[in-house]
Amino acid sequence: MKILVVIKQVPERDAPVRIDPSGKAIDDSDLQYAMNEPDAYALEEALQLKEKSAAANDEVIVLSAGPERVGTTLRDALAKGADRGIHILSDGLGSLDALGVATLLAAAIKQESPDLILTGLQSEDLGLGQTGVIVAELLGLPHATLILHVEKIKTGPNGTTIEAKRELEEGWFQTIELPTPAVLTIQSGGTKLRYATLMGIKRARIKEVKQISAADLAPTSTPVVLLQHIGLPKKQKSTQMLTGTPKEAAAVLVEKLRTEAHVL
């Protein structure tokens, strides 16, 4: 089975985030970067599938897009056990929207024709939760989100199907059957992550990381979602207790949402 994991390099979780004076970007001068944690879980799922599988020629490929520094995160993925990496070199990802990024990723994935594509549910910095879904759509593949594990892999006359366990709310789970190839977006916390080892890092040095320029993959698209402004939320605390019957309170609430909070 050929499993491709899409990972994103994001600022470290505890990084002090400062907004660029333009108000349109995060100031990245002092930032340390790390692998997006949901993507780390996706990678872990892929590695576990490879380890559990009986087949000898399973491959786990990691794919990421971004500037030169993304190479470190790809090497970390290789150190944890991925077989090879693909790096879409681009310095201008910040100006793209989710569709733009997904277009680049989909173009690179198409060249590989993997059986299964895993990626994290959302990123820790923007948290859009869209990239994986859009990639599936662009590739014309079925997808499932909020996945904890691939529970079963069934090979039949019509090809391979998988059963994935999906996390819902309130402790409920759902099992979804999909044909392959398919895209799954992985939820954090479903398994125990492995730690990077010295042996892994040393072996990673000889593993291949292929670099592709973004321009070679797809022409730059115009964003359909425009980022207007990044700002810190204004600290403001005001509590109003609404009394009366549920029906009365609801009516008052709607009125306030319309006239005071201006969200309706």
Partner: protein
């Protein structure tokens, strides 16, 4: 009593047949000896060379050799009675070297010691004194091992030890009997009996733990050079002690030197609390591996011969290595085995992985946001280090993020302010890497050591003070592998230098403090006196020696100097270099529940039993472990304070 005119009697003449017989027996014995010894020597010499081993400076090696081997200092100090008995056996052997040579030379008609001449006579008498002491000693040791049966010698009776004891006794007895033998046949029989015992003894040495007779002087001399000296990894394929091929010459020599005395196990916190780990068995496991598979094997060291679980129960307290009389260095072995498991990913442990992942992504071992440390610095108004101050106050993970650790830092800062010390704290700190170093994760340790060394150089840090002995050790010793660390000292060393400037509150009436404790009906009933109105009670303080300050750094008196400013010092039964670990070291504070009794509870109970009103610590980890242990008992507990907190109490008014 020997008659004054008695001399050592030996046969004057040996027949040709006797000479041939003796030669044949001697050669047979030598062949039997060499046959086995050759194999052991081969295994040791063909093991991997030790990276980073330096014979020079040789002064310390010679001093240790003289003190530990010739004077038998460690043998005697740790177990005085049995130790002296053994020392006399050893000294007798040394003295007997010439006697034995003379004994064999006599067979060929060329004895060189004349029992009638003054020098010869004097020598034989001296040897007789030692022989008597040795004979008494060996009988005593035999009784101890076979009749008294101390736990640390193991469950199984060692028949080879019994045989050796018998042979030694025969050697000494035949020698002494030769002073009173008068008839020709009896003299000759004694000579032959002595010879047989000697030749049998020689041939079985390499088959038993008595190999230490030959090896341990070398083992002591060829130590790694300092306590808990962790060797560097050599090359891209070295991940620690994974398989036989990773066992080095020193490790092999040490494995073959073990005398199975069990002193290491006797003081091991894990072995004492019902855990699988037994330091003696770790060493013997390696010896068994070498015997069965040799040093070139690729079979894993952990599995059949030693359990991975046991290796990860070690707190790296060092009690084992510290007192091994034959110079075995347990810590590099245990940490080497851990490296082999962690650097290859073979160690699967939820808490361990959590610690490693926290440090892969973040800056501290507790997994807390660095913003919290910034807030602490701001709240405490600690000065920031800007390169101009004399000292950099290193908070460490505990000092920066743990509530109790922060209290210690705050009090120490108050004292430094009072003393007018020039200091500052770094804006950003990363973990020194101590827990991952002791757990064997060289990937993370290298990252943290290099990053910290770079940051300290950039910030122009020359001198560091810290409240945590683990930070001190890691900065001073372990970082050396990756650069030159700045000077670092523990806050007890700093405070001790200024002890005369600190307020003395000793002698002050501690009764108000007592009331708080006694009112619940427990502590110190003797202070309640119905006659005197309010008797002055002096606070009794028991100081717990942290492993990383005591055994690792040889700092015992400085913290006591500070504690003595506040109250009357009492000692726990196990104190100074015998101090019993709190259980947090070796990264174990970060791992999950332990099996068996809890090390921290055992030690806390020992400290409470001294009747002290206050337990004084000098390590935030010890403090944390005892806080937990004391809280879990229903007894009213003594106060638990760091020495900085004790000293700061006197600054109340400042």
């Amino acid at each position: 009593m020997l008659p004054f005119h008695a001399t050592f009697a030996e046969p004057q003449h040996f027949s040709v047949a006797e000479k041939l017989l003796f030669a044949a027996l001697a050669l047979t014995s030598a062949w039997a000896f060499w046959r086995r010894f050759r194999i052991v020597l081969h295994k040791i010499l063909h093991a991997k060379k030790d990276p980073g081993f330096h014979l020079f400076p040789i002064g310390k090696r010679i001093r240790d050799f003289v003190w530990e081997v010739l004077f038998q200092a460690k043998v005697i100090r740790e177990r005085p009675l049995a130790g002296f008995a053994h020392a006399f056996v050893f000294w007798a052997f040394c003295v007997f070297a010439l006697v034995t040579l003379n004994h064999c030379a006599a067979a060929f008609g060329i004895p060189f010691l004349n029992p009638a001449a003054p020098i010869g006579r004097f020598y034989f008498y001296c040897a007789a004194v030692f022989a008597a002491a040795c004979a008494i000693g060996i009988v005593g040791l035999f009784v101890r091992r076979f009749l008294l049966r101390p736990r640390w010698l193991g469950e199984k009776l060692s028949w080879e030890s019994g045989l050796i004891a018998l042979l030694i006794f025969i050697l000494m007895a035949t020698y002494l009997a030769s002073f009173v033998a008068t008839t020709g046949p009896s003299i000759r029989s004694l000579w032959w009996l002595h010879t047989l015992a000697l030749l049998v003894f020689l041939s079985i040495i390499p088959h038993t733990k008595h190999l230490h007779l030959l090896l341990s002087p070398f083992t002591v001399f060829l130590s790694r050079g300092s306590f808990s000296q962790i060797p560097p990894l050599s090359g891209d394929e070295d991940f620690g002690l994974v398989a036989g091929a990773d066992l080095t010459q020193l490790v092999s020599l040490q494995a073959y030197s073990c005398v199975e005395c069990g002193r290491c196990t006797e003081h091991c916190p894990a072995a004492n609390t019902g855990k699988l780990l037994n330091p003696k068995e770790i060493v013997l496991g390696l010896r068994a591996y070498l015997n069965d598979l040799g040093p070139a094997s690729d079979q894993p060291l952990l599995g059949k011969y030693n359990a991975q679980q046991a290796v990860f129960q070690c707190t790296t307290c060092g009690a084992c290595e510290f007192q091994c009389p034959v110079g075995i260095e347990h810590l590099p072995i245990l940490i080497g085995l851990r490296r082999g498991a962690v650097n290859t990913g073979a160690w699967e442990n939820d808490h361990g992985a959590k610690l490693f992942l926290a440090l892969e992504r973040g800056s501290n071992s507790l997994g807390i946001s660095p913003a919290e440390r910034d807030k602490f610095i701001e709240r405490q108004r600690l000065p920031l280090f800007d390169g101009t101050q004399e000292y950099c106050l290193w908070l460490g993970c505990m000092g920066g993020y743990d509530p109790k650790g922060r209290e210690i830092v705050a009090d120490f800062a108050r004292i430094m302010n009072y003393l007018g010390t020039s200091y500052g704290v770094l804006r950003k700190e990363k973990c020194t890497g101590d827990p991952v170093r002791r757990l064997g994760n060289d990937l993370l340790f290298q990252q943290f050591a290099e990053s910290n060394l770079q940051s300290l150089a950039q910030n122009k840090v020359k001198k560091i003070i810290t409240i945590c002995p683990h930070c001190v050790r890691t900065i001073q010793e372990d970082w050396k592998e990756y650069g030159t660390p700045p000077e670092v000292e523990h806050h007890s060393e700093f405070l001790a230098r200024f002890a005369d400037k600190l307020p003395r509150t000793v002698g002050r009436d501690f009764s108000p403090g007592i009331e708080r404790v006694v009112s619940t009906g427990a502590l110190a009933p003797e202070v309640r006196s119905s006659s005197a109105p309010s008797p002055t009670v002096q606070e009794k303080i028991v100081f717990h020696d942290p492993c990383y300050l005591g055994r690792y750094r040889n700092v015992y008196e400085e913290p006591r100097t500070i504690a003595a400013l506040s109250g009357k010092l009492v000692e726990a039964p196990r104190h100074h270099d015998r101090s019993f670990c709190c259980g947090a070291g070796g990264g174990l504070a970060f791992l999950g529940e332990e099996s068996g009794d809890r090390v921290s509870h055992v030690r806390a109970a020992e400290l409470v039993a001294t009747g002290a009103h206050t337990i004084a610590t000098a390590c935030p980890f010890c403090n944390s472990m005892f806080r937990d242990a004391l809280a879990s008992t229903s007894e009213p507990a003594p106060q638990l304070l760091d020495i900085a907190q004790l000293a700061a109490r006197g600054l109340q008014g400042e």
